[in-house]
């Protein structure tokens, strides 16, 4: 068997089975870092052995077997020192499972996702940990998306993996009593992968953020593990709706185009169709939540492709629902815009004025919305000030240029 064939197989297995293999090994050892090390060594062995011995019939089972043996060896070594008893139990379990070699490999990725988004894990580390363990995204790429140095990101990841092992965070799917909250942590971490860098990617010619594809992959993985969960469907729908508009966000010259002025012909039909299907399936469960509402708002915007209009009163209604679930600053600003576009600009401006200044001072969408509302109310000078302030709060050159242009058009 040739080396290129080995390379291709290893890569294919990495892409398809990495998360599943890591999940299997860490769920049984409680040790994510140890699982990664062992699987890394197993991949290295494969690169050496497969060109000579041939690629095994089930490469993923071969890798799992080798990785598992390596983990047991490592554990044995450690036992000479401190944590003897606990680790012995683990390796015994490994041995027993080896007797009845399971096929296919059991899927523990859901447990792994819940560990990554466990409340005892630093919220800032949850998304990177998911990307690395479930999808196998490398730390340098994650670091660049999160705008930190690779060293800092590696350190953060090492720290949380130590915590998982030392604090003995269990690999399990949460009980019904804690289900909603624990699931929301998983969904939030996936959505954070989608939004990371959205405001701050400084590469010319793109305002598109770095991890959109990976975030959607995580969303799809979650749905293969819980196909009927309405909020997981809502999250996928939301991400697909946003992703469908990627190319329409900028003109050919690289100018920022606001959503209500984008050319619907440049939206991805196939993504919108999938987004709408997901949302429809979600709604049959009759269990509304934050992500379904956000997806529904995006769905109304997408309807403009068919109807030519934006149903702002409907959007306002959805925002009223959304602020019940998640009364954060984002939904409150969105609600104010919907209110103004529905013909209540004065009331909308009042509602913005009631938001705590500490939260709004450096929140760019707040100042952009405020500028827009003041513009609608013909208070041009104040509008100009607000838009200029919004422009100063974004790192996205296209968005900044757009806001400054709007401000410049005012006296």
């Amino acid at each position: 068997m040739s080396e290129p064939a080995t390379h291709a197989t290893v890569e294919a297995v990495m892409r398809r089975d990495y998360g599943r293999l890591i999940a299997y090994l860490s769920a049984r050892s409680g040790d994510v870092a140890g699982a990664e090390d062992a699987l890394g060594e197993a991949f290295a062995s494969a690169m050496k052995r497969w060109p000579e011995d041939g690629i095994p019939g089930k490469p993923e089972a071969w890798l799992l077997h080798v990785a598992r043996n390596k983990m047991i060896d490592t554990v044995r070594h450690r036992q000479v020192r401190e944590q003897a008893v606990e680790r012995l139990m683990v390796s015994d379990e490994f041995r027993n499972q080896e007797a009845s070699e399971p096929e296919p490999i059991p899927d523990d990725r859901l447990k792994l996702l819940f560990v990554c988004a466990h409340p005892a894990i630093d919220p800032a580390a949850r998304t990177p940990l998911m990307l690395q363990t479930v999808l196998g995204v490398d730390a340098a790429r994650i670091a660049s998306a999160f705008l930190v140095s690779p060293a800092a990101m590696s350190q953060r990841l090492v720290r949380v993996k130590n915590k998982i092992r030392e604090a003995a965070i269990p690999f399990r799917v949460p009980e019904p009593a804690e289900w909603d909250e624990r699931l929301s942590f998983v969904l939030d971490a996936i959505y954070a992968a989608y939004t990371t860098g959205w405001e701050s990617v400084a590469e010319t010619g793109t305002t598109h953020h770095a991890l959109a594809g990976e975030a959607i992959s995580l969303g799809r993985t979650l749905l293969t593990l819980m196909p009927d969960e309405p909020e997981a469907l809502g999250l996928l729908s939301l991400m697909l709706h946003c992703e469908a508009r990627r190319d329409a966000r900028l003109s050919d010259k690289g100018d920022f185009i606001p959503l209500d002025q984008q050319d619907p012909a440049r939206w991805s039909r196939s993504m919108i169709t999938e987004a709408e299907d997901s949302l429809r399936t979600a709604s049959t469960a009759g269990n509304i939540g934050r992500y379904q509402l956000e997806a529904a708002i995006q769905s109304i915007h997408a309807n403009r492709a068919r109807t030519g209009i934006i149903d702002w009163p409907e959007i306002l209604l959805l925002y009223e629902g959304l602020v019940q679930f998640s009364p954060g600053i984002g939904p409150l600003v969105g609600r104010a815009v919907a209110m103004a576009e529905s013909g209540h600009a004065e009331a909308a401006l009042d509602s913005l004025g009631r938001l705590p200044p500490a939260r709004t001072a450096s929140y760019q969408p707040y100042w952009a919305a405020r500028g827009h509302l003041l513009f609608l109310l013909d208070r041009k000078e104040e509008a100009k000030d607000a838009l200029t302030r919004a422009a100063s709060l974004t790192d996205d050159p296209a968005l900044r240029a757009h806001l400054l242009k709007r401000a410049a058009e005012l006296p």
Partner: protein, 90 residues
């Protein structure tokens, strides 16, 4: 030991392994990390033996002090009392 003064003791795993739990308005709050404020102080401790963090948090949250104070959960180093991953609560 020979002096006959030793009652008991154990090492704790580093503060990075800590998790805090408290109950406010009937809702359980679990957070990464040790006590956030330097003004907070250790008011007492207990040792329980449970299989994992979730079980430790469950028991810690049942402590009456969880309703007004914050309980920090940390593993014991694998020595002295600990043959299974025990949890110290402080």
């Amino acid at each position: 030991m020979a002096a006959g003064i030793f009652v008991g003791g154990a090492g704790l795993v580093s503060p990075e392994s800590a998790t805090t739990v408290s109950i406010r308005d009937g809702k359980r709050l679990v957070q990464d990390g040790p006590y956030a404020e330097t003004k907070e102080f250790l008011a007492g401790f207990g040792i329980i033996e449970v299989p994992d963090l979730d079980t430790a948090l469950e028991w810690a949250a049942r402590h009456p002090a969880a309703g007004f104070a914050t309980i920090e959960v940390r593993p014991l180093l694998g020595s002295h009392f600990a043959t299974a991953p025990a949890k110290a609560q402080a």
